[in-house]
């Protein structure tokens, strides 16, 4: 039974990082209907910025974590301003393909820094002894990750419910025409959506970097697992992203906990998300919480 609960706890830990990464993805989709394929690159950028600030600029890690979120906020905003603003009104398919181009560009920029082909890890700043509760282990880093995730999710839900900017973002995602007519600047909202996505990506990157270390291939691959998560949750639902992230974390943990090592199975955790993705696409394409507005053809 302890084993089961350990899997649950680990699943939640992993899942909340997925959730954090997925939120950024959903934010962009929700406001501008763009699938941002370069999200993994934003996450990696956030992780490296945090590392640079901590190690090279000797800023305490808490501060640099926040600073990197702010920096990535502006980074993502300028990405939107430079590349995507020009494409407002173009077919969505070209915008998506621009994000594919962005993927390569950010890759290139990261490879220009020493980080691209190096392995690094954050200096440890948390007690290395884990929290043990009834035989269930969780490290302080992971705990901090989960807490930050939920804190950010809380802040976002407040932001979208109460603040004017948040409400205008929701308005744009509901109906662009109508929100323009009441004086909301749609391009500005798009910019903000990208910026907030960048902010969450930096947070995800920072946490991820602390948990698994900084290896570009690993961070890179993390960007792809976000897709099954957002499809499961529904592309345009923030709560969906959170729930789906945690479900995906649990699925993976249970898969590696109960399937691997039995019946000759192995590495199922890395395959299952995509099988889930296919099944969801076939039977419930709008995901668990997505709006049903998807046009059937």
């Amino acid at each position: 039974m302890t084993y089961f609960f350990q899997l649950v706890v680990s699943g939640i830990v992993v899942g909340s990082i997925y959730a954090l990464a997925a939120i950024g993805f959903v934010l962009i989709y929700k406001s501008s209907r763009v699938l941002n394929l370069a999200h993994g690159q934003l996450i990696a950028a956030g992780a490296y910025i945090t590392y640079t600030l901590t190690v090279y600029c000797h800023i305490p890690i808490y501060v640099s974590f926040v600073l990197s979120m702010i920096l990535t906020f502006f980074l993502a905003m300028s990405v939107e301003r430079i590349f995507l603003r020009r494409l407002i009104g173009e077919p969505i398919i070209s915008v998506i393909m621009v994000t594919i181009g962005l993927m390569s560009i950010i890759d290139g920029v990261i490879y220009l820094t020493p980080f691209g082909s190096e392995n690094l890890s954050f200096p440890s700043f948390m007690p290395s002894q884990p929290v043990v509760f009834q035989g269930i282990y969780i490290s302080y880093t992971q705990l901090a990750g989960v807490l930050i995730t939920f804190l950010l999710i809380g802040v976002f839900s407040w932001f979208f419910r109460k603040s004017t900017v948040g409400i205008s973002m929701r308005a744009v995602s509901d109906d662009q025409m109508a929100s323009m007519s009441i004086g909301i600047s749609v391009p500005r909202v798009f910019g903000l959506a990208w910026a907030t996505a960048g902010l969450t990506a930096a947070a995800a990157g920072g946490i991820l970097g602390n948990i698994v270390g900084l290896n570009f291939d690993t961070l890179h691959a993390f960007g792809i697992i976000v897709f099954p998560v957002v499809i499961l949750g529904g592309l345009d639902s923030l709560p969906g992203a959170v729930v789906a992230g945690i479900i995906m974390g649990l699925i993976q943990q249970f898969a590696s906990g109960y399937l691997d090592g039995n019946w000759g199975l192995s590495g199922t955790a890395s395959l299952l998300p995509y099988i889930v993705l296919l099944v969801i696409l076939l039977f419930k394409p709008h995901g668990l919480f997505g709006t049903h507005e998807i046009e059937r053809v």
């Binding site: 181009g101 560009i105 897709f227 995509y274 993705l277 076939l282 046009e295």
Partner: protein
């Protein structure tokens, strides 16, 4: 009667639909095409090219065939596919696994290779139809996800099944031609001709499909699926059809790749490659047949250029600065983005402008 003169036509003078659907609008086009073919088939007799560039050209031609398929989905049917390399992999692994089962020097592999290539095409088509199935219910964003998961599941299956040698290289023997076994020194030249014939045949086939009702319904569904529906086309089936057809081209390209590389390894069919093909399609020109040829050539040559630029930069810059590392993805990404922003119709559009300039010469337009 300008329109009757099919030699000197300077613009569109179609008076019937049948005229519009001709493969070649004017006789001059036809003549130029024929001359171009003669050049393509005969240049190796006059110019000696190093093996490296022969291989580059062969790879471009393979990419052309693959991009026919991808352009059909993306340019004509309006769906994004990020699993095209996996479809090619299906073709390549059809040849490779048959070779694995019956032995890679079996007559079927070495003598009946055109048949094997065709078979791979059909395997690719079958896989395309299956992956395209969600198209019956979904629109483009979601199909991107379906192709993504197909790509990743393909990689997993190849990488973990003993039958596919766990993604390690599976060999395919050297083929035979009327003159006997194609030797190492003739290998790339032989496949140049085989690929050239395939490119031309597939290109004509592509052009012809677009003339049929199926081809036209693709464009109709892309432009407005509701209107297409109202006119009696089934948007879902049309898209599934596009996926099947794309799978066919990809399968053929993959099989040719396996023959050219003398086997199949899983590294050639990764997500990264799929994105490369997508870039070729964009840069060449979405929805343009000529784009299928310009795109692969442009991307492959750009890659070669950047490679030598990076090497040159690496020599003069301090070795601690790894400029070479970043330059390739950076330039690759920039090319995609700049094309999408400034020339969304791709290189094919330059070609179109050039052609109309020549046609109208000496008048400007």
């Amino acid at each position: 009667m300008m329109s009757a003169n099919r030699w000197m036509a300077t613009g569109n003078y179609f008076t019937t639909y049948r005229q519009e659907q001709r493969i070649f609008a004017t006789h001059v086009d036809r003549l130029i095409f024929a001359l171009f073919l003669v050049v393509l088939f005969s240049w190796p007799y006059f110019i000696e090219l190093s093996t490296k560039y022969m291989l580059v050209i062969d790879n471009i031609l393979i990419a052309v065939i693959a991009v026919y398929g991808l352009n059909l989905i993306t340019g004509f049917a309006g769906q994004i596919s990020v699993g095209h390399a996996a479809f090619m992999g299906v073709g390549a692994y059809t040849v490779a696994s048959v070779a694995g089962v019956i032995g890679d020097r079996h007559v079927l592999i070495t003598h009946a290779w055109p048949l094997m290539i065709l078979l791979s095409g059909f395997m690719g088509a079958a896989m395309g139809l299956i992956v395209g199935l969600p198209a019956l219910r979904l629109r483009h964003l979601y199909l991107l996800m379906a192709t993504l998961s197909f790509q990743l599941i393909f990689q997993w299956v190849i990488g973990s099944m003993e039958f596919f040698n766990q993604g390690q290289f599976m060999y395919v023997g050297r083929v035979h031609w009327f003159s006997g076994q194609v030797s190492r020194s003739q290998h790339y030249m032989f496949w140049y001709y085989a690929l050239l014939v395939t490119v031309v045949v597939c290109g004509l086939g592509f052009r012809n499909i677009l003339r049929t009702r199926y081809g036209r319904s693709l464009v109709a569904v892309r432009d407005n699926d509701r209107a297409a529906d109202a006119m009696g086309m089934h948007p879902g089936f049309t898209k599934v059809f596009a996926f099947g057809l794309a799978g066919f081209f990809a399968g053929i390209a993959g099989a040719l790749q396996a023959y050219l590389n003398r086997g199949a390894g899983f590294e050639t069919f990764t997500l990264h490659e799929s994105i490369q093909y997508l870039a070729m399609t964009i840069v060449g020109g979405l929805g343009q047949l000529t784009g299928c040829i310009f795109g692969p050539a442009a991307i492959r040559l750009l890659d070669l250029q950047v490679e030598s630029l990076a090497r040159w930069a690496g020599e003069i810059l301090p070795s601690s600065l790894d400029l070479a590392t970043g330059l390739r993805p950076l330039s690759f990404g920039l090319v995609i983005v700049l094309f999408l922003i400034f020339e969304p119709r791709g290189i094919a559009n330059w070609w179109r402008i050039m052609r109309s300039y020549v046609k109208l010469w000496p008048f400007r337009y």
